[in-house]
């Protein structure tokens, strides 16, 4: 309203409903800076601040005091400038006047209105359930609000037997609570198995026997017809003629959205108030969120979707992110029902086609695991009784991550010692990160000190920042330690930490603004703050984008890339000349030996990549030793194509079916020095005995009769992974073509420092095959062209020994005299 806006300079925002949805939405709005834009008033018909409904059953079973489950105390409203009008019911939305009317008789104007009225228990049509006035009769309860909890607990004290109608999640929670009050509990359920929303019949069966062992009686396929007893409840009668004795009844048969306020005042309403992807109702100034809202045909009764909706609504209404859109939630829950740990996600029953169902059952121990896998991704699943893999699986489900081929490892922790015990059992001094010596206790402490994202814990403890092979373990541990309150760090999606953009956004910005140097990127996209750790990643990306037009700045390079040698732990460098395909000559070996003597190499070592490493060379000697060697750089220091290991193949080997040395040499000549997001080690084997170990290389070729198999994504370092077969081709030229195409695609699409084995897991071999072999995206010709251009632009960096790029490129230390004001020579 015009007048209101003049009053405080702010728009009026009214929220109807002070439950978890309303309060969460307001929290999100405040977090988006909405406190400065809006004067916020919340109307709630419960006489409390808002509370965490998830913990309700803990109140019922006595393990939690009601005061402990309030999310925001009354102070919170005051401190945040939010006006709470508790105990008031909104009865009119006068949309033409943009005002609401309350049962206190007053009108309240709004500019924006959010309906978060939630839902109420669904009451099934059961005879003698209600008093003539429509209220539930004494001894019959719903289980929904804090008040319900207290009433149920109070009444249970004088009861011997209770019946819970509804064997879903809430019903079982109510049953457990009642059990703790010493009442005999019957669970009455209409479908054929318990928790049919989350469990399939087999899991439901196992759960039934598990909870029956605790003393709960489960009655399945029972349609309750009427409540028995004149004054007091004495039992229930079912449609099949059977009965059960009980002194009280708790109804937990699901929810009905409180959507009437929408339909009555002209908003499009079906089961819930219909909203679009911005949570807008049919009136653009009115929004609905939570259990009263219906989005794309669905009404959600769980908290996770509510959090998502609240965030999108806040970002939209405050303008913090005009593109914010809610596209529906993938449902995954992890919960504890009567002490039974359970995780359920997505579809729980397969359609029997185009999918794999991986299943494990151990009914006596109450363990059940089932995964439904479609196109290599998790479409859904159930874990019960033993859920140590739940965190990983829920994430894999949520983000559509491609699953590893070893399906067994999805259900069980196989092999790795740290994973055989649960985090609860794991002693605090177990070392999680073997590179940096970080123990479990340190990570848990870090979370206890307030770090809530995986990245912030990694930054603070250094866990997972070495070789990276423990990253997933660190992630699971942080998630466990946060008890599900783990926060997504937006920086985890940035290409580099110092520029707040993902790789695709960054590439677009670089192209659109024609940014050709690392400093230009910082100036344009990071307020000129040139984060040192971000420089090499940006340099790598710019080189891939611009090729020869890239404006190289040497200070953006890591030391190894400034001097084309690998820095050692004493500050000297290692020199590894390129030995194509591992094939050398006596003359070359003599030159290497002479150079080792002349420059006093402290060690001469044969490398794993079939080359010779001269270790302990001073920086200032690098140009001279390169000159004496007369060989090109082996690039053994940088994120680039490294080497191609070969076996002797058909030239000498009596088993050889392909000329692997000649192929290996051709591979090295073509791809030498090609920079990439992470190093690439190659191999070429002359027969399927695979002596060059080509199947555990980033790219590998294995000769078979009449052709070559090309493998990608293999690894045998910090991580071990067998490569995936990309294609089988006929000739050396075809191998080179296909390898180059994969490299170019990897260069363009991988994250910085992402090895091919992670890239493969992320993208998937089927997708890569479609793009690189079948040309489904029509990209092959371009990828090949880009690779040709990159190959043509190659220049041996060791040539910089004779023509340094900058004056002190190989300048060693600057020796100066004892402090005086005399000038010293530079």
């Amino acid at each position: 309203m015009e007048q209101a806006a003049v009053d405080s300079g702010k728009s009026k925002l009214i929220v109807i409903g002070n439950g978890m949805a309303g309060a969460r939405t307001v929290e999100e709005i405040l977090a988006c800076g909405g406190g400065a834009q809006f004067e916020i008033t919340i109307f709630g018909d419960e006489p409390y601040g808002n509370y965490n409904r998830i913990l309700l059953s803990s109140v019922l079973n006595g393990s939690q005091d009601p005061s402990e489950i309030f999310l925001n105390g009354l102070d919170w409203y005051k401190d945040n400038g939010v006006e709470l009008r508790a105990g008031l019911r909104v009865d009119v939305i006068a949309r033409p006047h943009k005002a609401i009317h309350c049962d206190d008789g007053n009108w309240y104007p709004y500019d924006k209105l959010i309906i978060a009225t939630g839902s109420r228990p669904a009451i099934p049509p059961i005879a003698a359930l209600k008093k003539p006035n429509g209220d539930l009769r004494p001894g019959v309860f719903v289980f929904r609000t804090l008040d319900d909890c207290e009433k149920i607990a109070g009444y249970a004290a004088k009861c011997r037997r209770a019946a819970v109608i509804g064997g879903g999640l809430l019903g079982l929670e109510a049953a457990r609570g009642l059990l703790n009050h010493g009442v005999e509990v019957n669970v009455i359920h209409l479908p054929g198995h318990l928790m049919e929303q989350q469990l399939d019949p087999q899991a439901g069966g196992i759960l039934k026997s598990t909870i029956e062992k605790m003393g709960i009686k489960v009655h399945l396929k029972k349609l309750t017809k009427s409540v028995l007893g004149d004054d007091e409840v004495i039992g229930l009668a079912f449609e099949d003629g059977q009965t059960v004795e009980c002194d009280m009844v708790v109804i937990a048969t699901g929810i009905t959205p409180n959507a009437e306020i929408g339909s009555r005042w002209g908003l499009t309403t079906e089961r819930g108030i219909v909203v679009d992807d911005q949570l807008r109702t049919s009136d653009p100034d009115i929004f609905a969120v939570g259990e009263c809202a219906q989005h794309r045909g669905r009404v959600y009764g769980l908290v996770a979707p509510l959090w998502d909706q609240a965030r999108v609504l806040a970002e939209h209404i405050t303008g913090a992110n005009p593109r914010a859109a809610y596209e529906g939630s993938k449902l995954a829950t992890k919960l504890k029902v009567m002490g039974v740990e359970l995780a359920s996600m997505g579809v729980i029953a397969g359609d029997g086609e185009h999918e794999d169902v991986v299943q494990f059952m151990e009914p006596q121990r109450g363990v059940y695991k089932k995964l439904i896998i479609r196109d290599g991704r998790l479409a859904g699943g159930i874990l019960m009784g033993e859920i140590s893999k739940a965190a990983y699986l829920i994430q894999a489900f949520d983000r559509g991550i491609r699953l590893p081929e070893d399906r067994l490892s999805l259900l069980f922790d196989t092999g790795a010692p740290s994973a055989q015990v649960t985090f609860e059992e794991m002693p605090a001094d177990v070392q999680i990160c073997n590179c940096n010596g970080v123990k479990k206790g340190a990570i848990v402490q870090c979370v206890a000190n307030g770090k809530r994202s995986v990245k912030s814990v990694m930054d603070a403890t250094r866990a997972g920042t070495g070789c990276g092979s423990c990253k997933s373990l660190v992630k699971e541990l942080v998630e466990w330690a946060c008890k599900g309150q783990v926060e997504e760090d937006p920086a985890a999606h940035y290409y580099v930490a110092g520029v707040a953009l993902s790789k695709p956004e960054l590439v677009n910005a670089i192209r659109a603004q024609n940014l050709k140097s690392v400093s230009a990127v910082f100036d344009a996209l990071a307020d000129g703050r040139d984060d040192p750790g971000s420089k090499p990643g940006l340099a790598s990306l710019l080189r891939t984008i611009w090729g020869a037009d890239y404006e190289d700045e040497r200070d953006a390079r890591f030391i190894n890339d400034r001097v084309h040698a690998n820095i050692q732990n004493d500050g000297t460098f290692s020199v590894i000349p390129r030995i194509y395909g591992g094939v050398t000559s006596a003359a070359e070996l003599r030159r290497i030996a002479d150079a080792a003597d002349k420059y006093a190499a402290r060690m001469v070592k044969i490398t794993g990549g079939q080359r010779i490493d001269l270790l302990g060379v001073k920086k200032s000697d690098l140009p001279a030793i390169w000159r004496d060697l007369g060989m090109p750089s082996g690039h053994a220091y940088t994120k680039a194509f490294r080497t191609c290991k070969t076996c002797v193949g058909t030239e000498f080997c009596r088993y050889g079916v392909g000329d692997s040395t000649r192929l290996g040499i051709a591979i090295e000549k073509r791809f030498q020095g090609i920079e990439s997001p992470a190093k690439m080690k190659l191999g070429a084997s002359g027969c399927p005995r695979n002596c060059a170990e080509a199947t555990v290389k980033d790219l590998g070729a294995v000769a078979v009769e009449n052709g070559w198999q090309v493998y990608v994504g293999g690894a045998a370092g910090a991580h071990v992974r067998a490569g995936d077969l990309l294609a089988t081709v006929s000739t050396h030229d075809e191998v080179l073509r296909l390898m180059g195409r994969f490299m170019q695609y990897y260069r363009e699409n991988a994250r910085y420092a992402e090895r091919t084995y992670t890239f493969l897991d992320r993208v998937g071999i089927e997708r890569l095959r479609a793009i690189l072999v079948e040309d489904c995206d029509g990209e092959i010709a371009r990828l090949d062209r880009e690779m040709d251009a990159t190959v043509a632009a190659y220049r041996d960096p060791w040539q910089e020994g004779t023509t340094p790029i900058e004056p002190n490129q190989f300048g060693d230390t600057l020796p100066l005299q004892t402090p005086t004001t005399e000038s010293a020579a530079s």
Binding site: D531, P532, G533, T818
Partner: protein
């Protein structure tokens, strides 16, 4: 300011050389009486100096990347060995309890002077 510094620390002031004896945006190690000191020249022309030896595993800080650390928004060097970060202004560790000694630096007439006391 520069002049005062020179006066006060006359005995301990050392001329390192012209600005461009250190590459732009890079560091360089100087040795004074056997002691290694890393001198850094930022892209904007400012110069800093720290002990060259990383207290973690003795990495040469002069070979590290420099710039404005995104997390602390301070000028920083990243050790080339294990990525420990130190503030250039005072040598304090940005992601570690460790710290290195820093030295005041002055630039006069395009030349770098270092105060060693």
């Amino acid at each position: 300011m520069g002049y005062e510094l020179m006066e006060v620390h006359k005995a301990g002031v050392l001329e390192v050389g012209p600005l461009d004896c250190v590459g732009m945006g890079q560091g360089r190690c100087i040795i004074v009486d056997g002691k290694q000191i890393a001198v850094f020249r930022m892209r904007d022309g400012r110069v800093f100096a720290l002990d060259n030896t990383c207290p973690h595993r003795a990495g040469p800080l002069s070979e590290g990347l420099v710039g404005i650390d995104y997390a602390s928004q301070l000028e920083a060097v990243v050790c080339p060995f294990h990525n420990y970060k130190f503030a250039l202004s005072d040598g304090r560790g940005l992601d570690t309890e460790l710290h290195v000694r820093s030295y005041p630096v002055e630039i006069r007439d395009g030349r770098i002077f270092l105060c060693l006391t």
